[in-house]
Every structure is written in structure tokens, then in C-alpha cells.
Symmetry: C2
Subunit: 424 residues, 2 copies
């Protein structure tokens, strides 16, 4: 890995050899960050080279990844998700240059496919036959899928309350699923013990420094899809902080090698019911744990494990912190779907909800170049989709105005259409 310099502790600045499977700083326990030899990378990349490259996946950015040259990569087509110019949505938000990056179009339908692919590739090349993590969400399903495609085994630890639906993808991908009779803390601790005992590859995002390297490919793509330009603003939802840190890293990498000539401002969006990162930004204070009160489960993280990296990214970028209610998230699901044909899960569209709020507050100039990242597919969480659509069983009163229940009678239907303005 000539492109990689080392892994540096973000807390005490201790340096480690990047190729070793160290996860956190052995001196102070801080998170590590992979650093690169940008002078070397400059000799390897150019706009022309990218223009000629027909590998339309995250692996076209191998020069920016901590993976050996020529290494076998995950065969599932990960990344190079579409970047849509969404004029109808832009009009609704008062933004003339709005783009949506739909990362729900990935092998297991979320942005997490990017870091999980990196984890599976690194595990493979470190000679591991098993990858492991504790999670019930997109991290787990993406890891199980990537592992299956590379012929690796996966062992996933979930708390017993994990919904059946979430177990489905894991078991379909052939993972061994350990359902722990206890809470998430107990689950995490048991996974840590087992991973250490058996020497499995550890994909816990809280400690693995390679994951945000996978995540940053979303920014490399955004910039390239804009013709190697940085947006003015990038809106993304924030949970444990790893994604926004990766988003920032991607733009910084491109800036460092001269492929873009400025950096975007980040819009960090959290749920009102769980916004420890944004609260720290607003108070200019250290992180404090919060309760996890939101239906956007992928970003319901009371104690963000990559909080330091996230705070640094938001502050360095001159970022904006916006909190949104669950209702605003559900409204964003409807707005994205009806205006653009994009169906995102709650955490996936929270960034769009926050962008809408920031735009309404006048924080975003109407001619700014803005990208909203949708991080996961709405099919991942149909119950929330039902809530957004106004057909959830728990709320029978809130029936969608677009749903017409009727006898097979054309006259009755005509009256109903006229009443609702479907026809004039």
C-alpha cells in the first residue's frame, strides 16, 4: 500500500503502521485515522484517467483506499450510486441546484455496503476466514452480504429484541446469528470476547479505522459526478458519526491531491430525540450521552462511537447542525418519493429533512450547489414507510388522502375523483 502512510490516533497523535490490523490506539484507546501519501497519489490519479476508467463501482478509487494494489475485491457492485439532479424537489425546497445521491441503490440497499466491502476485502487479505460485528442494522446485513460474496463466513451478534425482519437478511446471507439475551451493551461485550478469542476480523464501526475509508467513496463519487467539483453544501444524517466523518475525509482527499479546489460545508442532521453530536456543536461542548427517541433507528445512537471524528468534520467544514422531528422525517419520505421517485428509509432521508429545514430558515442560498445523501432504501423499514404513507395500523385515523376505498362502481369513483381533485 504505497499510497497509505500510516494510522494516526485522533486523540494522542501516536502513529501506527497502517497495514497491521490494529483497531484503536494501543497507547490511549483513541480512534485511529488512516493517512495517505498525497504526493504519491497525485502521480497516480487525474481527471483523464478517471474519464477513461470503466470500473463503475467504489473500486475505481483504489488509489484512495487502504487496500493492496491488485487485491481481489468484493464482487458485488458496490458504489457508483446515482446522483440525481432533482429539480422538482429543489423547487419545493427553494433550491435551484439540488442533487440527491441515492445510496439505497447498493447491493444490500444502504451506504453501509461501502465500508462493509472494505472490511470484507481487508479480512480476506489478512487471511481471516470469518468476519464479525454486533449490530442489528445495515452494518450487519451489508457485512453478511459482502462476506458471502467473497466466500467468507460471518458471525453477527444481535440483542434478542432485534426485529425478525432485520434477522432475515442476515440468515439469507448465511450468517451465523447470535441472538443475545440482554441489551446492546451485553451483546457488544460478548461479541468483543468472541472476536478476540477466535481471532475473527472485527467490523465494529466504533473501532475499525478502515470503515470510514469505505464510506468516503460516496464523496469521491459525488465530486466526480459533478465533474470534479465540490458542492457548496452536503447534507447527511448522523448517528455514530462514522458516515459524516467519511464524507468529510473523501472531500479532503480530493482537495489534497488537487482534484477539487474547495471544500463543502457539511449539514449534520440528527433526530430531535437523539442529537448528541449536534448538541455538542451547538453548545461548543464535549459529547454527552442522550436517550434514543426516534423512529430513525439507524441514527438512534445515544453515545456516538465516532463522535470525535464527526465533531471535527462538522467544525472544520464550517458546518450547520440541524435537528428534525420524526414528523419532519416522515414528511421528507413523502416529499422525496412524490417529487423524485426515490424511497428512502427514515435515517436515510433525515438528511433531506434537515436540508429542507435549513433552507426554510434561510441558511442555504437558493443558488447554492447542494447534495443530499440518501443513505438507505425505504424497503428496509416498511413499517416506517406505512407511517409516512398514512396507512399504519397503529394510526388508523391518519389515513392517506391519496387512498380511496370504494366499491367497483364508476359513478361513485367519478364523484370521489372530482371531490379529491384527481380529475377536474
Amino acid at each position: 500500500m504505497r499510497n497509505v502512510k500510516n494510522a494516526v490516533c485522533v486523540k494522542c497523535a501516536a502513529e501506527f503502521e497502517a497495514a497491521r490490523a490494529t483497531y484503536t490506539c494501543t497507547k490511549c484507546g483513541g480512534r485511529l485515522e488512516v493517512t495517505y501519501d498525497y504526493d504519491y497519489i497525485k502521480t497516480r490519479v487525474s481527471r483523464e484517467k478517471f474519464a477513461a476508467d470503466k470500473n463503475f463501482s467504489m473500486w475505481r478509487y483504489m488509489d484512495f483506499l487502504p487496500i493492496e494494489e491488485g487485491a481481489k475485491v468484493c464482487p458485488l457492485r458496490t458504489g457508483w450510486s446515482p446522483l440525481y439532479k432533482t429539480d422538482a424537489l429543489g423547487k419545493a425546497l427553494g433550491l435551484k441546484n439540488l442533487y440527491v445521491k441515492d445510496d439505497g441503490i447498493n447491493p444490500t440497499s444502504s451506504l453501509k455496503d461501502r465500508p462493509s466491502a472494505v472490511a470484507a476485502v481487508r479480512a480476506f487479505h489478512e487471511g481471516k476466514d470469518t468476519v464479525s460485528c454486533s449490530s442489528t442494522g445495515n452494518a450487519a446485513s451489508s457485512l453478511a452480504g459482502a462476506a458471502a460474496s467473497m466466500g467468507l463466513k460471518s458471525v453477527i451478534f444481535v440483542p434478542e429484541r432485534a426485529p425478525q425482519g432485520k434477522l432475515t437478511q442476515l440468515l439469507i446471507f448465511g450468517a451465523t446469528v447470535v441472538s443475545v439475551k440482554g441489551d446492546y451493551g451485553a451483546t457488544f461485550r460478548l461479541s468483543a470476547q468472541a472476536i478476540e478469542k477466535y481471532g475473527w476480523y472485527n467490523r465494529n464501526a466504533s473501532i475499525n479505522p478502515y470503515l470510514s475509508e469505505g464510506k468516503k467513496t460516496v464523496s469521491l463519487e459525488i465530486a466526480e459526478q459533478l465533474g470534479f467539483a465540490a458542492p457548496d453544501f452536503v447534507a447527511v444524517s448522523v448517528g455514530d458519526g462514522c458516515t459524516i466523518a467519511g464524507v468529510w475525509k473523501g472531500f479532503k482527499d480530493l482537495f489534497a491531491v488537487g482534484l477539487i479546489d474547495k471544500l463543502p460545508r457539511l449539514i449534520s442532521v440528527q433526530a430531535e430525540g437523539c442529537c448528541p453530536v449536534n448538541r455538542a456543536i451547538e453548545k461548543n461542548a464535549p459529547l454527552e450521552e442522550m436517550e434514543e427517541n426516534t423512529l430513525a433507528d439507524s441514527i438512534a445512537v445515544g453515545l456516538p462511537r465516532n463522535g470525535d471524528k464527526a465533531l471535527a468534520a462538522i467544525r472544520d467544514s464550517g458546518g450547520i447542525a440541524v435537528n428534525v422531528s420524526d414528523e419532519e422525517i416522515l414528511a421528507a419520505m413523502r416529499l422525496l418519493g412524490a417529487s423524485s421517485g426515490i424511497f428512502g428509509e427514515p435515517a436515510g432521508v433525515a438528511g433531506t429533512a434537515g436540508l429542507a429545514k435549513a433552507a426554510a430558515q434561510g441558511l442555504i442560498p437558493s443558488d447554492a450547489l447542494v447534495v443530499s445523501i440518501v443513505t438507505g432504501n425505504g424497503l428496509k423499514d416498511v413499517v416506517s414507510g406505512q407511517k409516512a404513507a398514512g396507512i399504519h395500523g397503529d394510526a388508523p385515523g391518519s389515513v392517506s388522502p391519496n387512498l380511496i376505498r370504494i366499491e367497483p362502481d364508476m359513478e361513485k369513483l367519478t364523484r370521489e375523483f372530482v371531490k379529491r381533485g384527481v380529475v377536474s
Copy 2:
């Protein structure tokens, strides 16, 4: 549309002008098929031109589509789904050259996004502001998504028994959903009345000849992704017959212009509980209606509306008809997931199940070049996924052997791992 000749009735051979929005033969009611001027198309396409084309979506095949040159197309990135060489799956099936075309990677997660995109584009250019169909499945959700992305309205008719989950995508995409108190027949008839009364664009696959033109792009892609070669066999699930007819049409188009030098044999896969097309093939007799007894709802079609086209395609190709049980479909879901990291819905993987069966019966030479099309994403039908994963509530006895429920105790976990062979 200089590339299009006309629309010909497959029953009485009457010819119609293709640009008109005629749906079925006005003389005998037969299905129409769009025909092309292959001599003209030959002057427009070449391997070199495709190699240089950076439009990686179904619209790279505009020369083969019944759409005006330069027309505005559906902005959602539809088609150019990945074709994976699946060696682990091939090994399990005894096939050395097996590929899987994963069409679950599409904007609304099924192959139906292709025909719905064509329908939305044609509606737009015919000056319609509303598209409509009766369906509860992928046809409806893909149409609603495509319409939203083009700024068209959509009105979808569903029978009242339609599951809430299926309504969700429709309402999120802003469709007006008419839930009809009656069965599918009553729903279809009411939709036909309304579509005629209001002059909406009709996307009912049973009558719209342009839909299989959209579907055929899956074959154009398969051939191009194989370096402009035809597979020896293509396996696909069959419901109303439109998809397999489209698959065949795509290969015939390429053969007609000399881009491939042979045609594949089709493997038509239906569910044992609903196999009218395959029964007609086996008996060499006309179609007869059957009951709809299978969990693979997208192919549970007792009276296939495109049966004639499907039968012709299978017979012309020297095809093979294979019926599979629901258990074999669920087994194929597990096999695809665990071997390749691909999660398909039941109807989506039925083709793979049938291929496995045909291979086991010695009908497929082990060195044949075989493509199995997965037509829809498993997230579309999580309940069936749970059944495949052995965690469905209705079958508590059939718990997956890969699911370990345990206290947070490393010693107990170790014993369980050893017992199950997770570790040695």
C-alpha cells in the same frame, strides 16, 4: 421513430402504425408486437459504439426502443444491472459458467422498472399527464416511481385484499390509490373504465405492447456484458408471460442486426401450484387457466395475459419448462444469499430454483454458458424471506440452524459454537 416499422397482431397479423397508442388489435383483439427496421438499426449500432457509450442504463439501447430520438427519458437510473459470475453458486449447481443478472438493483427494486420507464416515457411524449394500471405488485410500484420522477400523476387500482406493505411504496411515490372492494377481476374492469373515461395512459401489461420492449433491455445488457455473446441457456420465472417474451425479443433483436451469432435456449420456470404456461408446453396444447397456489406472488398468474407470446418464445428457442415447489423456491433464496450475497424475492429467484432442478436432472451440460435472471429484490417480501430463513412466526418449529439464542456468557457460547461447527 425511423427504427420502428409497425405493430403487428400476433394472432391475425394485422398491421398498425406503431406511433399510435393502440393497445390491442382492433380487428381480433390479439396482442400487438412492435417490429423494427433492422436494416436501419444496423446502420446505427456497432460494438465499437456501445464500447464508447457512457450511458450505463437501459437508454443506451435507444436504437432498439419504440421511443422518439432525443426524447426526454425517465431520470431514474434504470437497467444496466450487474451480471455476476457466480462461481460458488455454479459449483453448488454443477455449472462451470453460471452468471446471475441481479435486476433487484433497479430504482424500485425489480425488473418491472424497465417496462414502467418505457410506459412513463411514452405517456409523457403522447402528452398524457396521468398513467394508470391495476396491480398490487412490482408493475404498480415501478410505474408510480417512474411517473413521479417524470412529473406525471399516477392512479393505481388495487383489490382491497392488497397487503399494506404493497400500498406503501405506491403512496410514498404520490400515487392516487384506488382500493376496490372486490376481487382482481372487478379491480381490472374498474381500472379499464376509468382509463378509458379519462384518457389516461394505460400500463396494463396484458394489452400494452411497449412493455415487453422495455423488458427486452435485460437481454440486450446480458449479451453486451458477456462481450456480445448469447448464453446457451437463460433461466427466468414466468407469470403473465410478458417478461420471458421480452427476454426472447431482446436476443432476437441482437441476432437480427448481427450483434450476436446465435440464440439462447430459454428455461421457463413456474411454480408447481400455478404453471399454466409450462403445462401448455408439456402437453403441447393451448393455455388453460389454473389456480394460483404459490407464495411467489409476482408469478401467481392463473390466466397469463401474454401467454401466446410466452409460448411462442419458449417453443421458438427450443426451451425447457421446469416447475418448482415453494420449498424449492425458498431453498434457492437461501442458496443465492449464502453463496453470492444476492437476496431475491420468491418470484425473483424461481428462475434460479428451476435452473438448479434442470441441472440436477442433467438437462444442462456442465460447461454451458448459463444466465439466471433474478427479477426482484428480497426486501420486497420480507415475510417470505423470513420463511426462507426459518424464522417465520407461523412455523416456530422450523428455526434456522444458524440462529443461536443464548445468554451473554462466553463459555456457553463456546460450547454452542463447537456443537454447531462454527468453530473447531
